[in-house]
Symmetry: C2
Subunit: 101 residues, 2 copies
């Protein structure tokens, strides 16, 4: 399982916009082949801080996400709402053990 944790910093006046746009990206992503997780998390201490938890069966499936219309649309829509650049950190997902179909 190929996992990316994306830390997102949103301008306070665009928190609701960001959640709405990200919900659309989430709905698209969970139907992609090879998607395992696309969880959207918000910090309880600072409502402007989000984490996207994205897991795919393979690095190829993760890369394909970035070609999808819902991703490209999301990226463009949220760009002006970012307080600073997003930070993505990759991990090997050891468990659960999932086999690429």
């Amino acid at each position: 399982m190929h996992v990316t944790l994306v830390h997102v910093y949103v301008k306070p006046e665009h928190i609701e916009d960001f959640i709405r746009a990200t919900q659309q990206n989430h709905e698209g992503a969970i139907h992609e082949p090879g998607n395992v997780r696309f969880d959207v998390l918000q910090s309880p201490d600072d409502a402007t801080r989000f984490v996207l938890y994205e897991a795919y069966l393979t690095p190829g499936a993760a890369a394909a996400h970035k070609q999808m219309p819902h991703y490209l649309q999301w990226r463009e829509r949220v760009a002006p709402w970012m307080a600073k650049p997003r930070e993505g950190v990759n991990y090997h997902g050891l468990l659960p053990v999932l086999n690429p179909e």
Copy 2:
């Protein structure tokens, strides 16, 4: 959804021990009532760095995990293998939307 990201720093000579012990904790955790995720991640850049991604339907179910025999056993077993204390960060899981049963 109540999410905790736990950053774990393992002594290099105990990486395999840690993975084995954590697999047992994972197997127990995924059968707990209210558990949604218990993913075990390893950094591709530094094999001593792990993240546990733990999601529960409710804060109560997350708290109950820390009373479970598999958790208590894991905590005791891994204690001498830690390079430094674990760091847990809590999040509100906005998506997916899951209703407590």
